[in-house]
């Protein structure tokens, strides 16, 4: 009984209570995915723990602690400081634009000495928090008014502009998609979405003509007809499909992926790691991986649905949608369903920034789950713990 009570009153919730509420089974699922990632990185380095797997393990260990910390903070803490985080992330993003080092032809990274930070990833989480906070205070009627939607649109537009400037089309689109999903969940009227879609459809040719970089155009054109330039821009997609297809149902076996190991497959440790997995473990391996991800998606929906406050629900689903988009965009890209946009496969691909975003996101999701019974009024009375 005390346990039940503690759930309703955060003041009475001890660390032990929170740890008991922590969704260990989902964390375990995340660990399994990370381990699959380590194995693939070991394979990508041709049977060596260096340089990828070892560094990825250390990152995962450190960021898991961060995940736990984020989850154990009170949900109201995140609500209270949502705008502050948003502001800090924006400053960081602008800092990149000013003094960021150039990586892969685009200014995306902030060199922090030990590891490079990609502020656009942090920006996504900050935007999710800020939007959740805004819509937490909005009634259904409020949301129906167009004027009321101007602040959240500004919240989205500002970071989108800077990320686009880097230029990073993939992350921009993901940010827009997550924001759109959150507005949809918050009750923004359907006709508005229809209007936006029509506007975008009209704007695409204009953007193509005036704003898109040549390499972005190349990617889209290559996606539409990869055979057009088999050794140039279409090389990645063709080699990826060859590797995948040749894997068949059961795959070629661990470390036996000929296409990946003979370097026909580009960037196999990062964006194209799913291809290597599907080459070595076949359709079966791909399906198992998708099932593991689906468990997490379903959990995200479930946790959000159970949450008794709007902020938690919006954060929970925002994080879930973000995670889903990572998975979907990456896999759809390497199997030739959408253009190559440079999105990593979360928990598997080598890279610190994406892992940080994903695990911090899970921290917030678990935080929502732990604090699901807290009721927070719209005007946020008593959010100070």
């Amino acid at each position: 009984m005390t346990y039940e009570l503690a759930l309703f009153d955060q003041k009475k919730m001890t660390i032990a209570d929170k740890l008991r509420q922590f969704p260990w089974s989902i964390y375990f699922t995340i660990c399994i995915l990370a381990c699959i990632g380590f194995a693939m990185l070991y394979s990508a380095a041709n049977g060596s723990i260096d340089p990828y797997a070892s560094r990825q393990m250390i990152r995962f260990a450190i960021l898991s602690v961060g995940l736990l910390a984020i989850a154990l903070f009170d949900l109201r803490f995140w609500l209270k400081y949502a705008y502050l985080f948003y502001f800090l992330a924006l400053v960081l993003l602008i800092a990149v634009a000013v003094m960021g080092s150039t990586g892969g032809g685009a200014q995306r990274w902030l060199d922090l000495g030990v590891f490079q930070l990609q502020p656009s990833e942090i920006m996504k989480l900050a935007t999710i928090l800020a939007l959740a906070r805004f819509f937490h205070g909005a009634s259904y009627e409020d949301v129906g008014r167009l004027r009321y939607l101007l602040p959240p649109i500004a919240l989205i537009a500002l970071p989108s502009f800077f990320i686009m400037r880097q230029p990073d089309l993939g992350t921009t689109l993901m940010l827009l998609a997550v924001s759109g999903a959150m507005m949809f969940l918050a009750g923004v009227r359907i006709w508005m979405f229809v209007a936006v879609i029509i506007t975008v459809a009209a704007a695409v040719p204009i953007a193509w003509e005036f704003y898109m970089r040549d390499y972005q155009k190349d990617r889209v054109l290559t996606f539409l007809d990869p055979g057009n330039d088999p050794l140039g821009a279409g090389y990645h997609i063709i080699q990826s499909k060859i590797a995948l297809g040749s894997g068949g149902i059961f795959g070629k076996g661990f470390m036996e992926g000929t296409q990946s190991h003979l370097n026909f497959l580009p960037e196999k440790q990062t964006d194209f790691i799913f291809t290597m997995l599907a080459e070595e473990f076949g359709l079966i391996g791909g399906i198992i991986l998708l099932c593991l991800y689906t468990i997490i998606f379903i959990y995200g929906f479930y946790a959000s649905y159970r949450c008794r406050n709007q902020f938690g629900r919006l954060v929970g689903l925002g994080i879930t949608v973000n995670f889903f988009l990572y998975v979907f965009i990456n896999i759809a890209m390497v199997i030739g369903l959408i253009p190559v946009v440079g999105v990593p496969l979360p928990l598997i691909s080598f890279g610190g920034s994406a892992m940080l975003t994903v695990l911090a996101g899970f921290g917030l999701l678990f935080c929502v789950s732990i604090h699901r019974e807290i009721r927070i009024s719209r005007n946020m009375i008593g959010i100070d713990p």
Binding site: Y140, G187, G245, S246, F264, G286, I287, F297, A332, R378
Partner: protein, 642 residues
């Protein structure tokens, strides 16, 4: 109120979350569908593409067959060719400094062996174009000293390695140049006419003349292959399978190094000449000389433009094998064909014809070479003294068409089917031939000219040698050859067929041989001065002096100019065809010296010396050909010797 509002918000949230979830499920299904399509429905196709991607078939060129003379002396072998190659990748660890490092390496290498600016530029250019792990040849044909110096300094020469290839090397090169030929780069026409993938290898060489070309397929062997797995940059990771090729067949020639050298020496004094020595029963060509010659090794190493132009523009055609491709009027050597035709037409060998120094046919006067004439003579003396009028008479009796028929049996005017390329077939005219070629009817006077081997008649030294062999070997259609075996395209050897009988009358052959014997033995014989006096080695033969200009009536009235008084190119061709020993002949020889003057003075002594040398080389010194076993060494003996 507040509670109710929150409730409506929650309901909308839940409803829309359901929609969102459904949307995601749809997207996930799309992923699964696509994976199924790629990995199940299209799996086979992509599997094939994957193999094509990574498996590379490399050809292993077989070592070319070696060529030996009849006694196992090497003529063409494959020599190890040490090349110095540089791998740009290994010159420096950092890609950006590679070009500098490569330059430094070349500088250091320049102290050991001279590297021309052209080579240097080529290496730098290739380094820019090729993948950095592809070896680039800096220089070929290194000396031992250079190789060892590079090996010793290898620590100072990063990226430099010594590579061993096989190159053709000819021994006694210029002596055998015409019969062996040489190897050279594959031409576009050769690539197109064959689908042997070996021809597409950049370093591959094919036979370009002589035996090298004729037996190209046997000498080439069969390529092996090595299936290797390569990565996306083309670097070999491992070998998957290997099929060893078959080395080219070794060829033993019938030529004899010693005789060949001697023959070349013997004709070397003349600007342009050719000689053939042949075994009358088997057709083995023991020597085949043609001068001027060239060094085939230069072709293997690569000829400079200047060298090539010099060879090509030399009026004495050093690149032509005059023994098989040089066409000359046979002159009096042809008279044996006319004589045989006459005998076969029933002319009695002892029937005498009067030679008054000329013969008039219609309005034309045909001269004998001897101004005063020979008086009355029969066949033997007509041959021995080479009386032209006798053969004019025979031509009128027999007719040109029949002479041509008999000449063809002896190998004149037809292709002999020798195992060398570019064999010329020559001409023995017929009435039909002239009408067809020149569009004019045959004139009787032309029969007379043809009967003494002038006019349209053209033959090669090899044909004359063959004709003589057929006349003295009992009328067997012996075919000359330089390789001791024939080869199927796959390199399997088979023996030459035995020579068939031509169906000639032995009596006729005996009369003609008597005539030819007397050319040497009879005091009046045209080559009596150059006979072999040793009874064991006695020879017979026939001189020929072929006119290359028309002697005008005015000149005849004054005095026919002597050869020495004429410019070189208007002098007569000197010919001689002979055999030895006179008792059961074993060898024949034919010699032509272009514009050499008189056959008896110039060609006969050479022929005599060659026959002498040949008989002395005969391993068994036995006159009976049936008992002569061929002492040919086996391939294994040779391997051990080397």
């Amino acid at each position: 109120m507040e509670e109710a509002r929150d409730q409506s918000r929650f309901k909308i949230f839940t409803r829309r979350a359901m929609v969102l979830g459904g949307f995601k499920a749809t997207l996930l299904t799309a992923l699964l569908g696509r994976l199924y399509y790629l990995q199940v429905m299209k799996a086979e196709q992509y599997s094939n593409m994957a193999d094509e991607n990574r498996i590379n078939l490399r050809l292993l060129p077989p070592p070319r067959g070696r060529i030996y003379d009849r006694n196992g002396e090497p003529i063409a072998l494959n020599r190890k060719n040490y090349r110095v190659v540089v791998i740009p990748e290994q010159t420096s660890h950092t890609a950006s400094k590679r070009s500098m490092a490569l330059k430094q390496t070349l500088d250091k290498l320049g102290f050991i062996l001279p590297i021309s600016d052209r080579d240097r530029r080529r290496v730098m250019k290739q380094a820019k174009h090729n993948r950095s792990f592809v070896p680039i040849t800096v220089k070929e044909n290194l000396t031992w000293q250079q190789v060892s110096q590079i090996e010793v300094n290898s620590l100072d020469l990063p990226g430099v390695t010594i590579d061993v290839g096989l190159t053709r090397r000819y021994y006694n090169a210029s002596v055998f140049a015409h019969s062996i030929g040489y190897v050279g780069k594959v031409s576009a026409a050769e690539t197109n006419s064959s689908n042997d993938p070996l021809l597409e290898l950049p370093d591959f060489r094919v036979g370009k003349g002589g035996v090298e070309r004729k037996h190209e397929l046997a000498l080439r062997g069969k390529s092996g292959s090595s299936q290797v797995e390569v990565n996306a940059y083309g670097r070999i990771k491992r070998e998957l399978s290997r099929v060893e090729g078959k080395r080219g067949a070794d060829i033993f020639l019938t030529l004899d190094v010693v005789l060949q050298k001697y023959a070349m020496e013997r004709i070397a004094a003349h600007r342009s000449a050719a000689a053939v020595v042949m075994d009358v029963h088997h057709g083995d060509v023991l020597a085949m000389a043609s001068t001027p010659s060239f060094d085939p090794n230069h072709f293997v190493e690569g000829l400079s433009v200047a060298q090539w132009e010099k060879l090509r523009d030399n009026p004495h055609a050093p690149l032509t094998n005059k023994a098989v491709a040089g066409l000359y009027a046979p002159g009096s050597v042809f008279k044996m064909a006319t004589a045989l035709a006459a005998l076969q037409k029933g002319i009695h060998p002892h029937a005498k014809i009067y030679c008054g120094g000329y013969m008039d046919v219609y309005d034309d006067r045909f001269h004998c070479w001897r101004r005063g004439g020979h008086g009355k003579l029969a066949l033997r003396h007509a041959l021995a003294q080479s009386c032209d009028v006798y053969f004019y008479d025979m031509a009128l009796r027999v007719g040109i068409d029949y002479i041509a028929e008999v000449a063809a049996k002896l190998g004149l005017g037809v292709s002999l089917g020798m195992d060398l390329p570019n064999e010329a077939s020559g001409v023995v005219p017929t009435k039909e031939w002239k009408l067809e070629k020149l569009g004019r009817p045959w004139r009787v006077g032309e029969s007379l000219i043809a009967a003494i081997g002038q006019g349209y008649v053209l033959s090669t030294p090899l044909q004359l040698c063959t004709m003589l062999s057929r006349l003295v070997n009992g009328g067997k259609a012996v075919v000359p050859h330089v390789a001791s075996k024939r080869f199927h395209d796959d390199g399997r050897a088979y023996d030459l067929p035995e020579a068939e009988s031509l169906g000639l009358d032995d009596k006729h052959l005996r009369y003609i041989k008597q005539g030819m014997d007397m050319v040497m033995s009879h005091p009046k014989g045209t080559a009596h001065a150059h006979r072999i006096e040793d009874e064991d080695y006695e020879m017979g033969g026939k001189t020929g002096t072929a006119q290359v200009r028309t002697i005008s009536k005015a000149e005849r009235r004054r005095r026919v100019l002597k050869n020495e008084e004429l410019p070189w190119k208007y002098r007569d061709h000197a010919l001689f065809a002979g055999y030895a020993p006179t008792d059961r002949p074993r060898y024949t020889v034919s010699v032509i010296v272009e514009h050499g003057g008189s056959g008896s003075k110039v060609a006969a002594p050479i022929a005599r010396d060659l026959l002498m040398a040949t008989m002395k080389r005969d391993p068994l010194r036995q006159r009976n050909p049936e008992n002569v076993a061929r002492a040919m060494p086996t391939a294994d003996d040779i391997e051990e010797k080397l």
